[in-house]
């Protein structure tokens, strides 16, 4: 076995069963240590798939590794077992529990332990996914003040790099780790082939840029890596519906849309009659759109990024 499988944390269930949260570690060189993390929420299998794709390549280039890569494929296995966003039983969102606490319940203790491990790494990348109701293109997010993370994100083969002005919420991992690089795409509880492969290639390129292994060992030419549209929060154009009904999209993700173009319509689910046309307020690329069609007034149905 060319990697080390370590148990990071044991969740003891009331029945006495133990669920181990593990990580795979590749290489042990003097180069940088990179932590790749997925499955903080249980409805994000895309990240787990991507990390195992990366793991396959790391196994093949074991001799060439000059740094260390810690892969945490799924840190919330109880939720993932149910395809649920939150930690079951406690109904706790692990993504809002950082920095955790050493004497708390299991999610808090895990968050505390995990953060300690991640703080020891030179670079931390978290794989996330869209909410199951949405479909989105591969994209990166970093806090606007972190120039190192932004520089790395530009090498991650994503369509869009968003410089977030603030952490998305109190207790989020980026609040505890301001240099965190967040990669996401696809849809919650789904695997999207193109998104997974793009993100896997992006992570491998990022590891090469970090000199974890030589660039020549990449399974593709570095010139194939796409460069993102870089934007701040103010370049995002959210489109919400004002009527309830079924949202029928008229555009696909990453379509180049002109101002006024049709993004979709809300129809009466019983008669099929159109209740509302959703049109683009400005021109831009479709970053995400609603994939679950049932909507209430005020639901987000499309997000564009101004180019």
């Amino acid at each position: 076995m060319a990697y080390r499988l370590e148990s990071l944390f044991d969740v003891e269930l009331p029945t006495g069963d133990i669920v181990a949260i593990t990580r795979r570690s590749f290489g042990n060189g003097e180069g940088p240590t990179v932590a790749l993390l997925a499955g903080v929420r249980g409805d994000t299998p895309e990240g787990t798939r991507v990390l195992h794709e990366v793991g396959k390549h790391l196994l093949r280039m074991e001799e060439a590794l000059t740094g260390t890569v810690h892969v945490y494929p799924c840190v919330n296995p109880l939720a993932a077992d149910q395809g649920a966003r939150h930690w079951p039983g406690l109904d706790v969102d692990l993504a809002r529990r950082f920095p955790g606490r050493a004497d708390g319940h299991a999610p808090d203790r895990l968050a505390h332990r995990l953060l300690g491990e991640l703080q020891a790494a030179d670079v931390v990348v978290e794989l996330r996914a869209a909410h199951p109701a949405f479909r989105q293109v591969p994209q990166a997010r970093v806090l606007a003040g972190s120039s190192s993370a932004a520089e790395l994100a530009a090498s991650a083969n994503v369509r869009c790099l968003r410089l977030q002005s603030t952490p998305c919420a109190s207790g989020s991992l980026e609040e505890a780790l301001p240099n965190l690089l967040m990669l996401e795409g696809g849809s919650g509880n789904r695997l999207t082939e193109s998104v997974g492969l793009e993100l896997a290639d992006g992570l491998l390129n990022l590891l090469a840029v970090l000199h974890v292994f030589p660039e020549g060992d990449l399974p593709f030419h570095w010139a194939a890596i796409q460069r993102p549209v870089i934007c701040g929060d103010d370049a995002l154009l959210d489109h919400r519906c004002t009527r309830g009904g079924l949202f029928i999209p008229a555009a696909r993700t990453w379509d180049d849309i002109d101002a006024g173009a049709l993004l979709g319509e809300i129809i009466d689910p019983m008669t099929g009659e159109t209740r509302e046309h959703i049109t683009a307020s400005e021109g831009g690329r479709v970053l995400a759109h609603r994939a679950e069609p049932v909507v209430y007034p005020g639901n987000l149905v499309a997000r564009l990024v101004r180019q």
Binding site: T15, D103, Y296
Partner: protein, 296 residues
């Protein structure tokens, strides 16, 4: 009763935010329950208050919003059922935001008042004694004392700035939270106790005359949590609101299959049981019993 906000739903009748208003003019007090759809004690308490106010001449104005998350309540769900969002995390809300943000803003607008009170319960797994959660000092702390529920927990401001109560405070209103019972279950005694606390506050604000006697609750600023060291099946030996002595048996964590004792939990301090785990399957480090330590 009036509908102060509505939201079109895709398939069923529209969501409506109902408000009952008694009296007119100032001062104004607003009472809100059912932000979490499964917290039915607050709904029952406000319905008791409504029954009483119908029989009284009310000075000033009292607004009641007895069940904000009506769709959640219909399905015994804490969150807004459509997208599983927690309404209490959507405050202060937004007019052009998501459905829960629009409802949150409507609640904030509909509860504009000098004094704002929210009624809540513990989670579905935890039974809480009826108590007030208030700041350490100020008018809300004084109202918590006047409510005279079994416990008045005065807390530092950094722990009470979330949700609806936090939004009220940010808007400069006097706001407090009254809690009791547990999610998903109606406890008539707890609901009555909460209603009595509200009546004392309404009487102190001179909205109504009241014959409600002062309560004999305790005030505390410190609570002590007793947590499980091991996971298992927790069987409590005390009840919420019970006074316990230091060293008293609080409960036993047993093996779920076979019942052998794994851990005996004793009170580390004397006090009053503020919250008790009632769903017995517990994980290691989960809170079993919260004891409020009365002020001297």
């Amino acid at each position: 009763m009036s509908v102060v906000f509505s939201l079109e739903s895709p398939y069923r009748g529209e969501y409506r935010l109902h408000r009952l208003t008694f009296g007119s003019g100032g001062p104004v007090t607003a009472l809100v329950a059912g932000i979490h759809g499964n917290e039915v004690n607050g709904i029952q308490a406000l319905n008791l208050i409504a029954s009483m106010l119908r029989l009284q001449r009310v000075a000033g104005t009292v607004h009641l919003l007895p069940c904000v998350n009506l769709f959640g309540a219909e399905e015994a769900r804490k969150r807004w059922p459509f997208d599983d969002r927690d309404l209490n995390e959507a405050f202060p809300g937004a007019a052009d935001g998501s459905p829960v943000e629009r409802i949150a803003l409507a609640v904030l607008d509909a509860s504009e008042a000098d004094v704002c009170i929210e009624l809540q319960t513990g989670s579905a797994a935890v039974h809480e004694a009826p108590h007030a959660r208030v700041p350490l000092t100020g008018p809300a702390a004084e109202l918590g004392r006047i409510a005279a529920l079994p416990i008045c927990w005065r807390r530092s401001s950094d722990r009470i700035d979330d949700g609806l109560v936090g939004a009220w405070r940010a808007a400069g209103r006097t706001a407090l939270e009254l809690r009791g019972g547990r999610g998903g279950a109606l406890d008539l005694d707890d609901a009555r106790t909460l209603a009595r606390g509200v009546v004392r506050i309404l009487a102190a604000a001179e909205h109504i005359g009241s014959t409600e006697r002062p309560g004999d609750g305790v005030a505390c600023t410190t609570v002590h949590d007793h947590r499980a060291t091991l996971g298992g099946f927790f069987v409590p030996e005390v009840r919420v609101g019970e006074r316990v002595a230091e060293g008293q048996l609080l409960g036993v964590v047993r093996a779920p299959l076979g019942g052998e004792p794994r851990e005996v939990v004793h009170a580390s301090t004397a006090g009053v049981v503020l919250a008790l785990r009632v769903y017995p399957m517990v994980h290691a480090s989960e809170r079993l019993v919260r004891v409020a330590i009365p002020e001297e």
